[in-house]
């Protein structure tokens, strides 16, 4: 296909495969070698760039989705001096503070820093650490990097906001063969009509799993439909007693949503602890649900919140409780021709309590070993409604209904905490490391209630 993309302020047109990685388009197609490949899995941040002003890993963005958008690479930060580029203030701060060692993570690290400073011109140290948590460095111990970002921020960087936050909106120009196989619908009806004709087509949203899988030869979609240009699949809205979140809403959008921060902060919390910024800006809520994985970060919380899923097809829409939607590991109730339209979450009643906890193998960018989500409503001293969901313990996340029943109606006491913990311990049956996971679950359930006494 012919792809037109605005790179560092210049419109560029290249011939590429629709699912080519933006990383390869930049490095091979446009000879911009500053963006590095450290893993090809979205796990290191060396290829981080800005796409329409947001940090993403270029290894996880397909050309078909980058078309018509604005890309900024490390080469775009340098200020054009007399004939040769000069480091900008941020780049210079990296040199001055000793934040550059081997230099391989440096371009991605600088792009992550720029993205952070665009959003928070005066970040605290912990905000800097969070902003860079998806960018691995093996040389420095990060101290000098954090100092460099703080230095640039202190000097008023960036002086000007990024000028390239949107592209020309061009569409991909497919070859006749590609036009039969790749689709970029711009409305839900159009998307559903295509999906009706090609029920076997792969739908593309955040592609944080798909592109790494393709690289490893584990996936090779014959047909694909890009959903990111469908406005109906985007957005967060409060609708009476429910919150509706479009399937293609990203974790980044959830984190930045004033509505969710106010009305459903637990979802913001979960989104913030899923992946790291560059992944959050790509990974979608619908994708997390569609994956139907036992370790999916959001599924656990959505179960506890009593969420449902609306799917759409040319035949119309239907809404299913999440429990019924996720049928088995990697299997949902989506019929051929259907796609997830939105997730519907009942607004938690005033005074109720939600909590989401993830235990990964490190503090950021990690798969969960155990995750738990709690929803609690009280009536006076008594537990009126209690929902508890657990992830990473079974092929798909589960509601722990025995535990829920055991404590409903009880007052919150040490005894209740113990009962809940022990019921939860015996209710889960993790396949790997069962006693370890049971212990963590029981500890966290007990702690949840103890903290309420």
């Amino acid at each position: 296909m012919k792809m037109t993309v605005t790179v560092n302020g210049r419109k560029r047109t290249v011939d590429v495969a629709p699912l080519a990685r933006l990383l390869d388009v930049l490095r091979d197609g446009l000879a911009l070698k500053g963006t590095k490949e450290g893993c090809g899995d979205g796990e290191c941040g060396a290829c981080a760039i800005l796409l329409d002003g947001l940090l993403v890993n270029a290894c996880c963005v397909p050309a078909i989705q980058a078309t018509g958008r604005a890309v900024v690479t490390i080469e775009g930060l340098a200020e054009a001096g007399e004939g040769r580029p000069e480091p900008d203030r941020l780049q210079q701060a990296f040199v001055d503070e000793g934040a550059v060692h081997c230099g391989f993570c440096t371009p991605g690290m600088i792009m992550a820093s720029r993205a952070l400073l665009e959003e928070r011109p005066h970040p605290s140290e912990s905000e800097i650490r969070v902003g860079l948590s998806g960018s691995l460095c093996r040389c420095t111990g990060y101290g000098t990097i954090v100092a460099a970002v703080a230095k640039a921020a202190g000097e008023g960087y960036p002086e000007r906001p990024l000028p390239w936050k949107s592209g020309g909106g061009e569409r991909p120009l497919f070859s006749p063969d590609e036009a039969e196989r790749f689709f970029v619908p711009e409305s839900l009806d159009e998307a559903l009509a295509i999906l009706h004709r090609h029920p076997d087509a792969t739908v593309l949203a955040g592609t944080t799993d798909l592109l790494p899988d393709m690289k490893k030869g584990r996936a090779a979609p014959e047909r694909a439909i890009d959903l990111l240009r469908v406005p109906e699949l985007k957005g967060i809205a409060c609708d009476g007693s429910v919150i509706r979140i479009g399937a293609c809403t990203t974790n980044g959008e959830i984190i930045r949503s004033p509505l969710l921060r106010e009305r459903l902060p637990v979802l913001v919390d979960a989104a913030s602890h899923s992946g790291a910024p560059a992944i959050q800006n790509r990974a979608t809520l619908g994708g997390n649900v569609a994956n139907a994985s036992g370790a999916a970060d959001h599924l656990v919380l959505l179960l506890a919140l009593g969420a449902s899923v609306t799917v759409a097809s040319v035949r119309g829409e239907r809404t299913l409780p999440l429990e019924d939607f996720v049928v088995a590991y990697r299997k949902t109730a989506c019929e051929p021709g259907e796609l997830i339209r939105e997730i519907v979450i009942p607004l938690p009643p005033e005074g109720s309590l939600q909590k989401w906890i993830k235990r990964g193998s490190r503090q950021a960018l990690t798969l969960s070993r155990v995750s738990l989500a709690f929803h609690l409503e009280r009536e006076g001293e008594r537990i009126k409604v209690f929902r508890l969901a657990a992830g990473s313990m079974s092929p798909v996340p589960l509601r722990l209904t025995e535990t829920e029943r055991a404590v409903t109606g009880r007052t919150i006491t040490v005894e209740t905490a113990r009962l809940a913990a022990e019921t939860a311990r015996s209710e889960i049956h993790p396949r790997k490391s069962p006693d370890y996971r049971r212990a963590i679950t029981a500890n966290l359930v007990r702690r949840f209630f103890e903290e309420l006494i």
């Binding site: 450290g38 899995d41 060692h101 081997c102 691995l136």
Partner: protein, 759 residues
């Protein structure tokens, strides 16, 4: 304290600009016209006899070149410590991923397609992955008994010490695989030139190792083998040995195809097939007095070497020479083994055997303290090595600062108060703990290595100065620091001396970029070259002025005779104008190298040791068994900090690698002989959020060997973080970890076995 102009300042690193602009050329970035892509046919089994390598005729093999052991156009070994590592497997494979054949083609897709059409027919043999299994001898992987190397040190009367001991304290310790995880994967290209010579470019630490391996296998003269490191994206030892393998593969493919060939590893391939830090087990017995004095020490140190020798012998030697810890113990018996298994060969990783041995002895000090109900700091101070003490190899020590760094780290971190406070426990899920360790590292090659290395450095002047070394800057800053040393010696500014990336056609052999030797030894040789330069200029000026060279003095960065003076730049310019461009060389004076008897394992193991102590503070979540490092106080005595900012970077970076190893970097061998991780979500290194706050304090007590007193630094911070972290976990929870990584699950089991953490 001497006044310096350049030493002790921290100018911006010379390669910083091109790196922040994204212009630094790594091997994947270098345009090589007409370059083919190389691929490896890898063994799917850990042990087996090759019956046949079958190429499917459905693929058009004229599109690619194919090489197996039978068609290899050269001798079949990669020159390292022993020449036992074949370029391509011949009759047997002894580890998963071992190369059986090579393919090169015009592009990735063609090569992948070709690789899919090759089947290696292998008769599987039983495989062993652990040292214990391998020592049973039922499966022979290497040699006759799987023992790659064995060494002993016996000193004093160990029997008597144990017979007279108040207490015998015993312990078993283990360390796991540890992946270097340089951010830039391995990559190499070979470019055949019209004159029949070969040019090798790639990511590497040791251009002359690569050249040597090519020379030995291909039989080409070194002048016809030009090796040029690209910008190298991290090494940490991982690019010491393996680049020689990749260089031979690309060279063979280039010779066969007549085209340039490049192999760029993907992360999965890099994780699965390149050498890691040797897993180790250590058994320690100590004879102890009630007051904590150690009178006798027995150590059995075992390394899992994987299928071939690679650098194991030298790793083991260094392990042997550090495993007694920074302690004065009169009666010592150390026995060490490296054992072959059907694992990917273990190799070099920062610290090179020392971190394994030091982990064990430092945990053992904590164990002694525990058994005697003493504070671990007091047990250490009771036995700490001081000036004039002797190490088990018989080396009488000078320049010892173990006590000083330890006491200072304890003081700066508030260790005593915190240790007592945290031991009382606390409410809630978060328990804090603090732990401390002391360690050291011998700078430069072990034993007589520096004496036999023949390190040479050259300075050219052709209107400008350039400094030529074979040291690679893989991030540590060698090519910023070495010109600083020259600038100091010559009274110049650092930016008046260019330090180009090495190129064996241009640079002399100043040795490999390993063993914490670059600043210390190569830097020293830089100062020797500077002396030669001054002598050269003195001779020239004397001739020009018609006076004796002795009448010209070099002080305060300038040459003076009675009537006039010249800066070095002026003198060099005059010399160049009169007689043309010129060069000088520096070499290591013999007295700067250690003298060691390897057969008896006795003598001066290293000319100088650098010292380090670290206090680590953690928060352990006893609900989730997570360990979060909060603070790291590190005091290091390194002789001289040439570039203080880079020094701190080395310390924090090395320390964090060791901290990762202590609790989150978890890599094992599967029953099929593969490493458990083939992507980065399965091998986790610390992120910004897994990193403690740094408090780094550097002490400078110049040694008489290194440049301006500098000691080896690069590996030092790897040596003590892990035991300090486990001691902190002990302080927080009461459990005594003996094995790293202490993952959440292992911590859970220890806490369960203890019956919880409530105290």
């Amino acid at each position: 304290m001497p006044q310096f102009n350049v030493i002790g300042t921290s100018p911006p690193r010379l390669d910083g600009r091109e790196k922040v602009l994204g212009q630094a050329p790594f091997i994947a970035d270098v345009p090589i016209p007409g370059c083919w892509v190389g691929g490896v046919v890898a063994s799917p089994v850990p042990h087996g006899r090759i019956r046949a390598i079958v190429r499917d005729p459905a693929f058009d093999w004229s599109r690619v070149v194919f090489v197996d052991a039978a068609s290899l156009p050269c001798r079949n070994f990669v020159h390292m410590v022993r020449d036992d590592f074949p370029i391509l497997a011949e009759e047997k494979v002894t580890f998963v991923t071992q190369a059986v054949a090579l393919v090169a083609g015009p592009d990735r897709a063609t090569v992948d397609e070709a690789l899919r059409h090759v089947t290696v027919d292998i008769e599987p043999l039983p495989a062993v992955f652990s040292v214990d299994e391998a020592l049973k001898g039922e499966v022979v992987v290497w040699g006759e008994d799987n023992v790659i190397d064995e060494y002993r040190i016996d000193r004093g009367d160990v029997k008597k010490a144990f017979a007279e001991a108040d207490l015998v304290v015993e312990g078993d310790y283990a360390t796991g695989l540890h992946e270097q995880l340089y951010l830039e994967n391995q990559g190499m290209a070979a470019i055949p030139r019209d004159d029949g010579s070969l040019e090798i470019v790639g990511s590497m630490q040791c251009p002359y190792y690569v050249q040597g391996a090519l020379e030995q296998a291909l039989g080409l003269a070194p002048e016809r083998l030009r090796v040029k490191p690209c910008v190298t994206g991290g090494g940490f030892g991982g690019k010491e040995d393996y680049p020689s393998v990749l260089a031979l593969w690309t060279a063979v493919l280039a010779l066969k195809s007549g085209r340039p060939v490049r192999i760029l590893y993907e992360r999965g391939q890099d994780l699965q097939s390149t050498p890691k830090r040797h897993p180790s087990t250590t058994r320690i017995r100590t004879a102890v007095r009630r007051d904590g004095t150690i009178t006798g020490l027995e150590i059995e140190l075992r390394f899992n070497g994987g299928a071939f020798t690679t650098l194991s012998r030298v790793v083991q030697q260094r392990g042997m020479l550090h495993c007694q810890g920074a302690y004065r113990i009169a009666n010592v018996a150390i026995h060490s083994l490296t054992v072959a298994t059907n694992m990917v060969p273990s190799g070099a990783y920062r610290g090179f055997g020392a971190p394994q041995g030091l982990f064990a002895i430092e945990r053992h000090m904590d164990r002694i303290a525990r058994e005697l109900a003493l504070d671990p700091l007091d047990v250490r101070l009771k036995n700490i090595v001081d000036e004039g003490d002797t190490f088990p190899c018989g080396q009488k020590l000078k320049g010892v600062f173990a006590r000083q760094v330890l006491e200072r780290a304890a003081e700066l971190s508030g260790y005593r108060k915190k240790r007592a406070l945290y031991a009382q426990g606390s409410e809630g899920p978060l328990r804090r703990g603090i732990g401390l360790s002391v360690a050291f590292h011998g700078g430069g090659f072990t034993g007589s290595g520096e004496a036999t290395m023949g390190t040479v450095v050259r300075i050219d002047y052709d209107g400008a100065f350039s400094l030529h070394v074979s040291s690679t800057d893989m991030g540590q800053g060698a090519l910023t620091v070495l010109p600083m040393i020259a600038a100091e010696a010559l009274g110049l500014r650092p930016d008046e001396i260019a330090a180009p990336r090495p190129d064996t056609a241009v640079c002399p052999n100043s040795g490999p970029t390993v063993a914490s030797r670059t600043t210390m030894y190569v830097g020293r040789v830089v100062t020797e070259a500077c002396k030669a330069l001054i002598d050269e200029l003195r001779t020239f000026l004397a001739y020009q002025e018609g006076i004796s060279p002795r009448a010209i003095a070099f002080t305060k960065g300038a040459l003076h005779c009675r009537s006039r003076s010249w800066t070095v730049a002026q003198a060099a310019r005059a010399r160049c104008d009169a007689q043309g461009p010129f060069s000088v060389e520096g070499r290591l004076p013999q007295e700067a190298a250690a003298c060691f008897n390897l057969d008896r394992f006795e003598g001066e193991a290293y000319r100088s040791y650098a010292w380090i102590a670290q206090a680590v503070e953690v928060a352990v979540n006893v609900d989730t068994y997570e360990v979060k490092p909060l603070e790291a106080t590190i005091v290091a005595e390194i002789g001289r900090a040439i570039h203080p900012v880079l020094v701190e970077g080395q310390i924090a970076g090395g320390f964090l690698q060791a901290l990762g190893w202590s609790h989150i970097e978890d890599l094992t061998v599967t029953p099929e002989g593969r490493f458990s991780a083939d992507q980065l979500n399965a091998y986790l290194i610390p992120t910004t959020l897994d990193t403690p706050q740094w408090h780094i304090d550097v002490m400078e007590e110049p040694c008489d060997v290194g440049a301006y007193g500098a000691k080896g630094l690069g590996e030092l911070p790897m040596n003590g973080a892990a035991p300090a972290a486990l001691s902190a976990v002990e302080n927080a929870t009461g459990v005594f970890g003996t094995e790293i990584p202490l993952t959440g699950e292992k911590l859970f089991r220890l806490i369960e076995a203890q019956g919880g953490t409530e105290r």
